[in-house]
Protein backbone atom coordinates (compact mmCIF):
# COMPACT_ATOMS: atom_id res chain seq x y z
CA UNK A 1 0.00 0.00 0.00
CA UNK A 2 2.84 2.38 0.78
CA UNK A 3 4.12 1.83 -2.73
CA UNK A 4 0.79 2.77 -4.24
CA UNK A 5 0.72 5.99 -2.24
CA UNK A 6 4.18 7.08 -3.21
CA UNK A 7 3.36 6.30 -6.84
CA UNK A 8 0.32 8.55 -6.57
CA UNK A 9 2.43 11.17 -4.87
CA UNK A 10 4.94 11.30 -7.70
CA UNK A 11 2.19 11.42 -10.25
CA UNK A 12 0.60 14.40 -8.54
CA UNK A 13 3.93 16.17 -8.25
CA UNK A 14 4.75 15.75 -11.93
CA UNK A 15 1.31 16.48 -13.34
CA UNK A 16 -0.01 19.00 -10.82
CA UNK A 17 2.60 20.65 -8.63
CA UNK A 18 5.24 21.26 -11.28
CA UNK A 19 2.85 22.77 -13.84
CA UNK A 20 1.26 24.89 -11.11
CA UNK A 21 4.61 26.20 -9.95
CA UNK A 22 5.53 26.98 -13.54
CA UNK A 23 2.39 29.09 -13.91
CA UNK A 24 3.04 30.80 -10.57
CA UNK A 25 6.56 31.87 -11.54
CA UNK A 26 5.84 32.39 -15.26
CA UNK A 27 5.43 36.19 -15.12
CA UNK A 28 8.75 36.50 -13.35
CA UNK A 29 10.48 34.43 -16.03
CA UNK A 30 8.95 36.70 -18.67
CA UNK A 31 10.07 39.79 -16.74
CA UNK A 32 13.67 38.58 -16.70
CA UNK A 33 13.59 37.48 -20.32
CA UNK A 34 12.06 40.72 -21.66
CA UNK A 35 14.35 42.94 -19.63
CA UNK A 36 17.39 41.57 -21.48
CA UNK A 37 15.93 42.06 -24.96
CA UNK A 38 16.59 44.83 -27.44
CA UNK A 39 13.69 46.93 -28.71
CA UNK A 40 13.91 45.08 -32.00
CA UNK A 41 13.73 41.66 -30.42
CA UNK A 42 10.71 42.61 -28.29
CA UNK A 43 8.90 43.25 -31.58
CA UNK A 44 9.99 39.92 -33.09
CA UNK A 45 7.29 37.53 -34.22
CA UNK A 46 7.36 34.86 -32.91
CA UNK A 47 8.66 36.08 -29.56
CA UNK A 48 11.67 34.38 -28.03
CA UNK A 49 12.06 33.14 -24.49
CA UNK A 50 15.83 33.39 -24.28
CA UNK A 51 17.08 36.64 -25.86
CA UNK A 52 19.19 36.03 -28.96
CA UNK A 53 21.39 39.03 -28.25
CA UNK A 54 21.09 39.62 -24.52
CA UNK A 55 21.72 43.23 -23.63
CA UNK A 56 22.07 45.27 -20.46
CA UNK A 57 21.06 48.42 -22.32
CA UNK A 58 17.59 48.57 -20.74
CA UNK A 59 19.08 48.63 -17.28
CA UNK A 60 20.92 51.86 -18.05
CA UNK A 61 18.28 53.43 -20.33
CA UNK A 62 15.25 52.96 -18.11
CA UNK A 63 16.49 55.48 -15.55
CA UNK A 64 16.43 58.22 -18.18
CA UNK A 65 13.11 57.29 -19.74
CA UNK A 66 11.03 57.36 -16.57
CA UNK A 67 11.89 59.08 -13.28
CA UNK A 68 12.72 55.66 -11.88
CA UNK A 69 15.08 56.96 -9.20
CA UNK A 70 12.27 59.13 -7.83
CA UNK A 71 9.88 56.20 -7.96
CA UNK A 72 12.32 54.08 -6.01
CA UNK A 73 12.77 56.79 -3.41
CA UNK A 74 9.01 57.22 -3.03
CA UNK A 75 8.34 53.49 -2.75
CA UNK A 76 11.03 53.29 -0.12
CA UNK A 77 9.52 56.21 1.81
CA UNK A 78 6.08 54.64 1.65
CA UNK A 79 7.44 51.32 2.87
CA UNK A 80 9.52 52.83 5.66
CA UNK A 81 6.74 55.21 6.67
CA UNK A 82 4.14 52.49 6.84
CA UNK A 83 6.54 50.28 8.77
CA UNK A 84 7.18 52.96 11.40
CA UNK A 85 3.52 53.84 11.74
CA UNK A 86 2.38 50.25 12.02
CA UNK A 87 4.94 49.53 14.73
CA UNK A 88 4.24 52.76 16.65
CA UNK A 89 0.47 52.29 16.57
CA UNK A 90 0.32 48.53 16.56
CA UNK A 91 2.72 47.54 19.34
CA UNK A 92 0.83 49.33 22.15
CA UNK A 93 -2.52 48.03 20.93
CA UNK A 94 -1.31 44.46 20.52
CA UNK A 95 0.36 44.55 23.92
CA UNK A 96 -2.85 45.75 25.59
CA UNK A 97 -4.91 43.06 23.86
CA UNK A 98 -2.46 40.39 24.86
CA UNK A 99 -1.77 41.28 28.51
CA UNK A 100 -4.99 42.84 29.83
CA UNK A 101 -8.50 41.46 30.15
CA UNK A 102 -10.43 44.72 30.06
CA UNK A 103 -14.04 45.40 29.24
CA UNK A 104 -13.37 46.99 25.86
CA UNK A 105 -11.19 44.13 24.68
CA UNK A 106 -13.83 42.10 22.85
CA UNK A 107 -15.50 45.14 21.22
CA UNK A 108 -12.09 46.34 20.03
CA UNK A 109 -11.28 42.94 18.49
CA UNK A 110 -14.63 42.92 16.68
CA UNK A 111 -13.97 46.45 15.50
CA UNK A 112 -10.62 45.32 14.06
CA UNK A 113 -12.44 42.60 12.15
CA UNK A 114 -14.95 45.07 10.76
CA UNK A 115 -12.23 47.39 9.47
CA UNK A 116 -11.12 44.48 7.31
CA UNK A 117 -14.52 44.32 5.77
CA UNK A 118 -14.79 47.36 3.67
CA UNK A 119 -13.20 48.07 0.36
CA UNK A 120 -10.29 50.51 0.36
CA UNK A 121 -12.13 52.33 -2.40
CA UNK A 122 -14.79 53.35 0.12
CA UNK A 123 -12.12 55.04 2.22
CA UNK A 124 -10.51 56.61 -0.83
CA UNK A 125 -13.80 58.21 -1.80
CA UNK A 126 -14.60 59.36 1.70
CA UNK A 127 -11.21 60.89 2.32
CA UNK A 128 -10.60 62.41 -1.09
CA UNK A 129 -12.65 65.51 -0.31
CA UNK A 130 -10.51 66.25 2.74
CA UNK A 131 -7.25 65.56 0.95
CA UNK A 132 -8.23 67.82 -1.93
CA UNK A 133 -9.63 70.58 0.27
CA UNK A 134 -6.53 70.87 2.46
CA UNK A 135 -4.04 70.66 -0.39
CA UNK A 136 -2.73 67.27 0.71
CA UNK A 137 -2.44 65.94 -2.82
CA UNK A 138 1.10 64.75 -3.67
CA UNK A 139 1.80 64.14 -0.01
CA UNK A 140 3.48 60.78 0.58
CA UNK A 141 2.88 60.99 4.33
CA UNK A 142 -0.88 60.95 3.73
CA UNK A 143 -0.58 57.85 1.56
CA UNK A 144 1.63 56.12 4.13
CA UNK A 145 -0.80 56.98 6.91
CA UNK A 146 -3.88 55.73 5.07
CA UNK A 147 -2.12 52.56 3.95
CA UNK A 148 -0.90 51.95 7.51
CA UNK A 149 -4.40 52.42 8.92
CA UNK A 150 -5.67 49.86 6.46
CA UNK A 151 -2.98 47.33 7.26
CA UNK A 152 -3.01 47.97 11.00
CA UNK A 153 -5.68 45.48 12.07
CA UNK A 154 -3.85 42.63 10.40
CA UNK A 155 -0.53 43.63 11.95
CA UNK A 156 -2.09 43.95 15.41
CA UNK A 157 -3.29 40.35 15.09
CA UNK A 158 0.16 39.23 14.05
CA UNK A 159 1.82 41.12 16.92
CA UNK A 160 -0.65 39.76 19.48
CA UNK A 161 0.39 36.27 18.43
CA UNK A 162 4.07 37.04 18.90
CA UNK A 163 3.57 38.75 22.27
CA UNK A 164 1.49 35.95 23.74
CA UNK A 165 4.44 33.63 23.12
CA UNK A 166 6.41 35.62 25.74
CA UNK A 167 5.57 34.43 29.29
CA UNK A 168 4.23 37.28 31.48
CA UNK A 169 6.53 36.10 34.28
CA UNK A 170 9.56 37.80 32.70
CA UNK A 171 7.74 41.13 32.99
CA UNK A 172 6.72 40.46 36.55
CA UNK A 173 10.35 39.75 37.38
CA UNK A 174 11.41 43.04 35.78
CA UNK A 175 8.71 44.92 37.71
CA UNK A 176 9.97 43.41 40.96
CA UNK A 177 13.33 44.92 40.09
CA UNK A 178 11.70 48.33 40.12
CA UNK A 179 10.66 48.79 36.52
CA UNK A 180 7.31 50.32 35.69
CA UNK A 181 4.85 48.34 33.58
CA UNK A 182 5.92 50.34 30.54
CA UNK A 183 9.58 49.84 31.40
CA UNK A 184 9.08 46.11 31.76
CA UNK A 185 7.39 45.99 28.38
CA UNK A 186 10.16 47.96 26.69
CA UNK A 187 13.06 46.19 28.41
CA UNK A 188 11.78 42.62 28.43
CA UNK A 189 8.89 41.84 26.09
CA UNK A 190 9.95 43.87 23.06
CA UNK A 191 13.54 42.55 22.92
CA UNK A 192 12.33 38.99 23.48
CA UNK A 193 9.84 39.18 20.65
CA UNK A 194 12.15 40.88 18.17
CA UNK A 195 12.01 38.15 15.49
CA UNK A 196 8.24 38.66 15.39
CA UNK A 197 8.63 42.43 15.38
CA UNK A 198 10.99 42.22 12.44
CA UNK A 199 8.56 39.99 10.56
CA UNK A 200 5.75 42.51 11.09
CA UNK A 201 8.05 45.41 10.21
CA UNK A 202 9.00 43.81 6.92
CA UNK A 203 5.42 42.83 6.21
CA UNK A 204 4.38 46.47 6.70
CA UNK A 205 7.27 47.67 4.56
CA UNK A 206 6.20 45.31 1.76
CA UNK A 207 2.64 46.51 2.03
CA UNK A 208 3.79 50.12 1.63
CA UNK A 209 6.10 49.21 -1.23
CA UNK A 210 3.33 47.34 -3.05
CA UNK A 211 0.66 49.97 -2.40
CA UNK A 212 -1.30 51.02 -5.49
CA UNK A 213 -4.78 52.46 -5.00
CA UNK A 214 -4.04 55.28 -2.54
CA UNK A 215 -1.05 56.50 -4.55
CA UNK A 216 -3.09 56.30 -7.75
CA UNK A 217 -5.67 58.63 -6.24
CA UNK A 218 -3.78 60.95 -3.95
CA UNK A 219 -0.63 61.57 -5.97
CA UNK A 220 -0.70 63.51 -9.21
CA UNK A 221 2.88 64.58 -9.95
CA UNK A 222 5.19 61.98 -11.52
CA UNK A 223 8.00 62.95 -9.21
CA UNK A 224 6.06 61.77 -6.14
CA UNK A 225 4.72 58.52 -7.54
CA UNK A 226 5.89 55.19 -6.17
CA UNK A 227 7.03 52.41 -8.51
CA UNK A 228 3.68 50.65 -8.80
CA UNK A 229 1.76 53.65 -10.12
CA UNK A 230 4.79 55.16 -11.85
CA UNK A 231 5.20 52.08 -14.02
CA UNK A 232 1.46 51.88 -14.57
CA UNK A 233 1.35 55.46 -15.87
CA UNK A 234 4.19 54.53 -18.15
CA UNK A 235 2.09 51.90 -19.93
CA UNK A 236 -1.08 53.97 -20.15
CA UNK A 237 0.45 57.25 -21.22
CA UNK A 238 3.11 56.37 -23.72
CA UNK A 239 3.63 54.00 -26.57
CA UNK A 240 4.47 51.00 -24.45
CA UNK A 241 8.11 50.02 -24.42
CA UNK A 242 7.75 46.60 -22.87
CA UNK A 243 11.46 45.98 -22.42
CA UNK A 244 11.75 49.12 -20.27
CA UNK A 245 8.58 48.36 -18.33
CA UNK A 246 9.79 44.84 -17.56
CA UNK A 247 13.20 46.09 -16.49
CA UNK A 248 11.61 48.52 -14.05
CA UNK A 249 9.20 45.84 -12.88
CA UNK A 250 11.98 43.38 -12.24
CA UNK A 251 13.96 45.91 -10.20
CA UNK A 252 10.85 46.79 -8.19
CA UNK A 253 10.05 43.14 -7.56
CA UNK A 254 13.53 41.99 -6.56
CA UNK A 255 13.64 44.30 -3.55
CA UNK A 256 10.50 42.93 -1.90
CA UNK A 257 11.15 39.34 -2.87
CA UNK A 258 14.55 39.42 -1.13
CA UNK A 259 13.00 40.99 1.98
CA UNK A 260 10.20 38.47 1.89
CA UNK A 261 12.51 35.48 1.65
CA UNK A 262 14.30 36.72 4.75
CA UNK A 263 11.22 36.56 6.97
CA UNK A 264 9.12 34.03 5.10
CA UNK A 265 9.14 31.43 7.86
CA UNK A 266 8.34 33.82 10.68
CA UNK A 267 5.57 35.45 8.74
CA UNK A 268 3.82 32.28 7.65
CA UNK A 269 4.00 30.95 11.20
CA UNK A 270 2.38 34.16 12.42
CA UNK A 271 -0.38 33.80 9.84
CA UNK A 272 -0.96 30.25 10.97
CA UNK A 273 -1.46 31.50 14.51
CA UNK A 274 -4.13 33.92 13.27
CA UNK A 275 -6.03 31.36 11.27
CA UNK A 276 -6.13 28.98 14.19
CA UNK A 277 -7.87 31.47 16.41
Amino acid sequence: MTRRISWLKWLSIIFFVIPMLLILVFPFIIMVSTSFKTLQEVGDIPPTLIPKEPTLQNYSEVWQIIPLAYHFRNSFLLGAGEMLLVLLLGIPAAYALCRFRFGGRQPYMIFLLITQMFPAVVVVLGIFRVVAAYGLVDNLAVVAFVAAAFNLAFCIWLLTGYFSAIPPEVEEAAMMDGNSRLGAMIRMTLPLSWPGLIAVAIFAFMDGWNEFLFSLTFIRTDEYLPLTVGLFRFITRFQIQWQHLMTGSLLATIVVVILFMMVQDKLTRGLVAISEK
Binding site: L24, P46, R101, M117, F118, A120, A149, S249
Partner: protein, 317 residues
Protein backbone atom coordinates in the same frame (compact mmCIF):
# COMPACT_ATOMS: atom_id res chain seq x y z
CA UNK B 1 -12.74 38.11 34.57
CA UNK B 2 -13.52 40.98 36.88
CA UNK B 3 -14.88 40.18 40.31
CA UNK B 4 -17.34 43.02 40.09
CA UNK B 5 -19.47 41.15 37.60
CA UNK B 6 -20.17 38.47 40.14
CA UNK B 7 -21.55 40.77 42.82
CA UNK B 8 -24.98 39.41 43.65
CA UNK B 9 -27.72 41.89 42.88
CA UNK B 10 -31.32 40.93 43.58
CA UNK B 11 -33.20 41.65 40.32
CA UNK B 12 -32.33 45.33 39.85
CA UNK B 13 -34.82 47.79 38.43
CA UNK B 14 -34.21 49.23 34.96
CA UNK B 15 -32.64 52.49 36.16
CA UNK B 16 -30.50 50.72 38.71
CA UNK B 17 -29.23 48.30 36.12
CA UNK B 18 -28.21 51.11 33.77
CA UNK B 19 -26.41 52.76 36.65
CA UNK B 20 -24.68 49.48 37.42
CA UNK B 21 -23.47 49.21 33.84
CA UNK B 22 -22.18 52.76 34.01
CA UNK B 23 -20.36 52.08 37.26
CA UNK B 24 -18.86 48.94 35.84
CA UNK B 25 -17.63 50.87 32.82
CA UNK B 26 -16.05 53.53 35.02
CA UNK B 27 -14.46 50.89 37.23
CA UNK B 28 -13.17 49.06 34.18
CA UNK B 29 -11.66 52.27 32.82
CA UNK B 30 -10.03 52.97 36.19
CA UNK B 31 -8.68 49.45 36.70
CA UNK B 32 -7.32 49.14 33.20
CA UNK B 33 -6.28 52.71 32.59
CA UNK B 34 -2.93 51.60 31.16
CA UNK B 35 -4.55 49.20 28.69
CA UNK B 36 -6.93 51.86 27.41
CA UNK B 37 -4.10 54.35 27.15
CA UNK B 38 -2.23 51.90 24.95
CA UNK B 39 -5.21 51.69 22.62
CA UNK B 40 -5.53 55.45 22.16
CA UNK B 41 -3.06 55.88 19.26
CA UNK B 42 -4.57 53.12 17.14
CA UNK B 43 -8.12 54.21 18.00
CA UNK B 44 -7.40 57.76 16.87
CA UNK B 45 -5.92 56.49 13.63
CA UNK B 46 -8.89 54.27 12.94
CA UNK B 47 -11.27 57.09 13.80
CA UNK B 48 -9.57 59.55 11.45
CA UNK B 49 -8.74 57.28 8.53
CA UNK B 50 -11.35 54.54 8.65
CA UNK B 51 -14.46 55.64 10.52
CA UNK B 52 -14.50 59.22 9.31
CA UNK B 53 -14.17 58.32 5.60
CA UNK B 54 -16.81 55.64 6.05
CA UNK B 55 -19.22 58.13 7.60
CA UNK B 56 -18.39 60.67 4.96
CA UNK B 57 -19.10 58.13 2.20
CA UNK B 58 -22.41 57.14 3.77
CA UNK B 59 -23.42 60.78 4.13
CA UNK B 60 -22.44 61.43 0.52
CA UNK B 61 -24.56 58.52 -0.66
CA UNK B 62 -27.67 60.37 0.54
CA UNK B 63 -26.71 63.80 -0.75
CA UNK B 64 -26.33 65.84 -3.88
CA UNK B 65 -22.64 66.34 -4.64
CA UNK B 66 -20.53 68.57 -6.86
CA UNK B 67 -17.71 67.64 -9.23
CA UNK B 68 -15.10 67.30 -6.48
CA UNK B 69 -17.34 65.29 -4.20
CA UNK B 70 -18.54 67.99 -1.80
CA UNK B 71 -22.02 67.69 -0.39
CA UNK B 72 -24.37 70.37 -1.70
CA UNK B 73 -27.67 69.22 -0.34
CA UNK B 74 -28.25 66.46 2.13
CA UNK B 75 -31.18 64.06 2.33
CA UNK B 76 -32.00 62.64 -1.07
CA UNK B 77 -32.19 59.22 -2.64
CA UNK B 78 -31.40 60.59 -6.08
CA UNK B 79 -28.03 58.80 -6.19
CA UNK B 80 -29.61 55.42 -5.66
CA UNK B 81 -32.30 56.21 -8.22
CA UNK B 82 -29.65 57.17 -10.76
CA UNK B 83 -27.77 53.96 -10.06
CA UNK B 84 -30.91 51.90 -10.52
CA UNK B 85 -31.42 53.58 -13.91
CA UNK B 86 -27.80 53.06 -14.95
CA UNK B 87 -27.90 50.55 -17.80
CA UNK B 88 -24.48 49.15 -16.89
CA UNK B 89 -25.46 48.28 -13.32
CA UNK B 90 -27.04 44.84 -13.91
CA UNK B 91 -23.84 43.78 -15.68
CA UNK B 92 -21.68 45.19 -12.90
CA UNK B 93 -23.65 43.28 -10.25
CA UNK B 94 -23.43 40.04 -12.22
CA UNK B 95 -19.71 40.50 -12.83
CA UNK B 96 -19.01 41.35 -9.18
CA UNK B 97 -20.75 38.20 -7.96
CA UNK B 98 -19.10 36.04 -10.58
CA UNK B 99 -15.70 37.55 -9.88
CA UNK B 100 -15.86 37.27 -6.09
CA UNK B 101 -17.32 33.77 -5.82
CA UNK B 102 -15.71 32.43 -8.99
CA UNK B 103 -12.17 33.40 -8.05
CA UNK B 104 -12.55 32.05 -4.53
CA UNK B 105 -13.98 28.74 -5.75
CA UNK B 106 -11.21 28.35 -8.30
CA UNK B 107 -8.55 29.31 -5.76
CA UNK B 108 -9.84 26.62 -3.38
CA UNK B 109 -9.87 24.03 -6.18
CA UNK B 110 -6.19 24.66 -6.89
CA UNK B 111 -4.94 25.45 -3.40
CA UNK B 112 -6.29 22.50 -1.45
CA UNK B 113 -4.67 19.75 -3.56
CA UNK B 114 -1.50 21.84 -3.63
CA UNK B 115 -1.45 21.97 0.16
CA UNK B 116 -2.10 18.21 0.36
CA UNK B 117 0.92 17.47 -1.82
CA UNK B 118 3.18 20.03 -0.17
CA UNK B 119 2.28 18.53 3.19
CA UNK B 120 4.16 15.39 2.09
CA UNK B 121 7.87 14.99 2.17
CA UNK B 122 9.62 14.95 -1.18
CA UNK B 123 12.92 16.25 -2.54
CA UNK B 124 12.55 19.88 -3.51
CA UNK B 125 9.61 20.50 -1.19
CA UNK B 126 11.30 23.53 0.37
CA UNK B 127 12.12 25.03 -3.02
CA UNK B 128 8.53 24.39 -4.08
CA UNK B 129 7.21 26.25 -1.04
CA UNK B 130 9.44 29.29 -1.69
CA UNK B 131 8.42 29.45 -5.35
CA UNK B 132 4.80 29.13 -4.32
CA UNK B 133 4.99 32.28 -2.22
CA UNK B 134 6.57 34.41 -4.94
CA UNK B 135 3.29 35.83 -6.33
CA UNK B 136 2.28 36.83 -2.83
CA UNK B 137 5.46 38.81 -2.17
CA UNK B 138 5.69 40.63 -5.50
CA UNK B 139 3.81 43.91 -6.00
CA UNK B 140 0.43 42.89 -7.39
CA UNK B 141 0.15 45.92 -9.67
CA UNK B 142 3.43 44.96 -11.28
CA UNK B 143 2.74 41.26 -11.74
CA UNK B 144 -0.68 42.10 -13.17
CA UNK B 145 1.01 44.38 -15.72
CA UNK B 146 3.38 41.55 -16.58
CA UNK B 147 0.37 39.31 -17.22
CA UNK B 148 -1.00 42.05 -19.45
CA UNK B 149 2.19 41.73 -21.46
CA UNK B 150 1.88 37.93 -21.56
CA UNK B 151 -1.71 38.27 -22.84
CA UNK B 152 -0.64 40.77 -25.53
CA UNK B 153 -2.35 39.77 -28.79
CA UNK B 154 0.62 40.06 -31.16
CA UNK B 155 3.78 39.93 -29.09
CA UNK B 156 2.56 38.11 -26.00
CA UNK B 157 4.02 34.87 -24.73
CA UNK B 158 0.67 33.12 -24.36
CA UNK B 159 -0.33 33.30 -28.01
CA UNK B 160 3.16 32.20 -28.93
CA UNK B 161 2.92 29.16 -26.67
CA UNK B 162 -0.43 28.28 -28.22
CA UNK B 163 1.10 28.54 -31.69
CA UNK B 164 3.99 26.34 -30.66
CA UNK B 165 1.67 23.72 -29.21
CA UNK B 166 -0.29 23.92 -32.46
CA UNK B 167 -3.53 24.62 -30.63
CA UNK B 168 -4.26 27.64 -32.78
CA UNK B 169 -2.38 29.80 -35.27
CA UNK B 170 -4.50 32.86 -34.65
CA UNK B 171 -3.53 35.86 -32.55
CA UNK B 172 -6.19 35.79 -29.89
CA UNK B 173 -7.09 39.20 -28.45
CA UNK B 174 -7.18 38.03 -24.86
CA UNK B 175 -7.88 41.41 -23.34
CA UNK B 176 -9.96 42.93 -26.11
CA UNK B 177 -12.81 40.41 -26.23
CA UNK B 178 -15.15 40.89 -23.30
CA UNK B 179 -15.57 37.30 -22.13
CA UNK B 180 -11.93 36.39 -22.61
CA UNK B 181 -10.81 39.54 -20.82
CA UNK B 182 -13.05 38.72 -17.88
CA UNK B 183 -11.63 35.21 -17.75
CA UNK B 184 -8.11 36.69 -17.84
CA UNK B 185 -8.62 39.08 -14.92
CA UNK B 186 -10.22 36.25 -12.95
CA UNK B 187 -7.26 34.05 -13.78
CA UNK B 188 -4.76 36.63 -12.53
CA UNK B 189 -6.78 37.19 -9.36
CA UNK B 190 -6.74 33.42 -8.73
CA UNK B 191 -3.04 33.33 -9.55
CA UNK B 192 -2.36 35.98 -6.92
CA UNK B 193 -4.59 34.35 -4.27
CA UNK B 194 -3.25 30.81 -4.49
CA UNK B 195 -0.12 31.34 -2.34
CA UNK B 196 -1.90 32.70 0.74
CA UNK B 197 -4.66 30.11 0.62
CA UNK B 198 -2.30 27.21 0.05
CA UNK B 199 -0.08 28.25 2.93
CA UNK B 200 -3.08 28.58 5.24
CA UNK B 201 -4.39 25.14 4.22
CA UNK B 202 -0.92 23.75 4.72
CA UNK B 203 -0.82 25.20 8.22
CA UNK B 204 -4.23 23.70 8.94
CA UNK B 205 -3.08 20.29 7.73
CA UNK B 206 0.01 20.44 9.88
CA UNK B 207 -2.00 21.26 12.97
CA UNK B 208 -4.05 18.04 12.70
CA UNK B 209 -2.79 15.83 15.53
CA UNK B 210 -1.07 12.81 13.94
CA UNK B 211 -2.46 10.30 16.45
CA UNK B 212 -5.94 10.41 14.93
CA UNK B 213 -4.44 8.83 11.83
CA UNK B 214 -2.77 6.11 13.89
CA UNK B 215 -6.12 4.99 15.21
CA UNK B 216 -7.51 4.86 11.69
CA UNK B 217 -4.53 2.84 10.48
CA UNK B 218 -5.13 0.29 13.21
CA UNK B 219 -8.73 -0.07 12.13
CA UNK B 220 -7.40 -0.74 8.65
CA UNK B 221 -9.05 2.28 7.04
CA UNK B 222 -8.11 2.90 3.41
CA UNK B 223 -6.24 6.09 2.65
CA UNK B 224 -9.30 7.37 0.79
CA UNK B 225 -11.54 6.81 3.84
CA UNK B 226 -8.85 8.31 6.01
CA UNK B 227 -8.88 11.45 3.87
CA UNK B 228 -12.67 11.87 3.93
CA UNK B 229 -13.26 10.87 7.54
CA UNK B 230 -10.20 12.40 9.21
CA UNK B 231 -8.59 15.14 7.13
CA UNK B 232 -11.64 16.84 5.65
CA UNK B 233 -13.62 17.30 8.91
CA UNK B 234 -10.52 18.58 10.68
CA UNK B 235 -9.99 21.16 7.95
CA UNK B 236 -13.55 22.46 7.98
CA UNK B 237 -12.92 25.39 10.30
CA UNK B 238 -9.80 26.63 8.52
CA UNK B 239 -11.68 26.18 5.27
CA UNK B 240 -14.65 28.30 6.35
CA UNK B 241 -12.48 31.13 7.67
CA UNK B 242 -10.24 31.24 4.63
CA UNK B 243 -13.13 31.30 2.21
CA UNK B 244 -14.85 34.10 4.13
CA UNK B 245 -11.69 36.21 4.11
CA UNK B 246 -11.07 35.45 0.46
CA UNK B 247 -14.56 36.44 -0.66
CA UNK B 248 -14.18 39.73 1.22
CA UNK B 249 -10.78 40.30 -0.37
CA UNK B 250 -12.06 39.43 -3.84
CA UNK B 251 -14.91 41.93 -3.38
CA UNK B 252 -12.30 44.53 -2.53
CA UNK B 253 -9.99 43.63 -5.37
CA UNK B 254 -9.15 46.69 -7.41
CA UNK B 255 -5.54 46.43 -8.51
CA UNK B 256 -5.71 43.47 -10.89
CA UNK B 257 -8.63 44.80 -12.91
CA UNK B 258 -7.39 48.37 -12.94
CA UNK B 259 -3.89 47.52 -14.17
CA UNK B 260 -4.98 44.90 -16.71
CA UNK B 261 -8.12 46.27 -18.36
CA UNK B 262 -9.47 49.25 -16.40
CA UNK B 263 -12.84 47.60 -16.90
CA UNK B 264 -12.58 47.59 -20.68
CA UNK B 265 -14.02 46.66 -23.08
CA UNK B 266 -17.27 48.55 -22.40
CA UNK B 267 -17.38 48.01 -18.64
CA UNK B 268 -17.47 44.25 -19.22
CA UNK B 269 -14.58 43.55 -16.83
CA UNK B 270 -15.62 46.08 -14.19
CA UNK B 271 -16.71 45.03 -10.74
CA UNK B 272 -18.38 47.29 -8.21
CA UNK B 273 -15.21 48.79 -6.73
CA UNK B 274 -13.66 49.67 -10.10
CA UNK B 275 -16.96 50.96 -11.42
CA UNK B 276 -17.59 53.19 -8.43
CA UNK B 277 -14.06 54.54 -8.76
CA UNK B 278 -14.89 55.51 -12.34
CA UNK B 279 -18.24 57.00 -11.34
CA UNK B 280 -16.45 59.27 -8.91
CA UNK B 281 -13.12 60.11 -10.52
CA UNK B 282 -13.82 59.82 -14.23
CA UNK B 283 -17.51 60.71 -14.61
CA UNK B 284 -17.25 63.03 -11.59
CA UNK B 285 -20.65 61.79 -10.42
CA UNK B 286 -19.37 61.41 -6.86
CA UNK B 287 -22.84 60.94 -5.40
CA UNK B 288 -23.41 57.77 -7.39
CA UNK B 289 -19.94 56.58 -6.45
CA UNK B 290 -20.75 57.08 -2.75
CA UNK B 291 -24.05 55.27 -3.18
CA UNK B 292 -22.44 52.26 -4.84
CA UNK B 293 -19.69 52.24 -2.20
CA UNK B 294 -22.31 52.23 0.52
CA UNK B 295 -24.22 49.41 -1.16
CA UNK B 296 -21.05 47.34 -1.55
CA UNK B 297 -20.19 47.83 2.10
CA UNK B 298 -23.68 46.75 3.22
CA UNK B 299 -23.57 43.65 1.03
CA UNK B 300 -20.20 42.67 2.52
CA UNK B 301 -21.40 43.18 6.09
CA UNK B 302 -24.55 41.13 5.51
CA UNK B 303 -22.58 38.41 3.81
CA UNK B 304 -20.08 38.27 6.71
CA UNK B 305 -22.81 38.12 9.36
CA UNK B 306 -24.72 35.36 7.60
CA UNK B 307 -21.53 33.45 6.98
CA UNK B 308 -20.29 33.62 10.57
CA UNK B 309 -23.77 32.57 11.79
CA UNK B 310 -23.58 29.52 9.57
CA UNK B 311 -20.05 28.86 10.78
CA UNK B 312 -21.16 29.01 14.43
CA UNK B 313 -24.18 26.77 13.95
CA UNK B 314 -22.04 24.25 12.09
CA UNK B 315 -19.60 24.22 14.98
CA UNK B 316 -22.19 23.68 17.68
CA UNK B 317 -24.02 21.04 15.62
Amino acid sequence: MSVRAEVVRPAPAQAERAEGAWQRLVADLRDNRFAYLLLVPSMLTFAALVLFPLGSTIAGAFAKTDAVGRIIEFGTLANFRDLARDSYMPGIIRQTALFAFGTVALTVIFSFPMALVLNQRFPGAIVARSLLLLPWAAPLAISAMTWRWIFHDQLGALNHLLHLANITQQNIGWLSQANLAFACVMFVEVWSSIPFMTITFLAGLQSIPPHIYDAAKMDGASSWREFWDMTVPQMKRVFMIVTLLSVIWAFRSFTVIWTMTQGNPFYRTDISVTYLYKLAFQNLTFGQGYALAFATFIVLIIFSIVYTRVLRSEETA
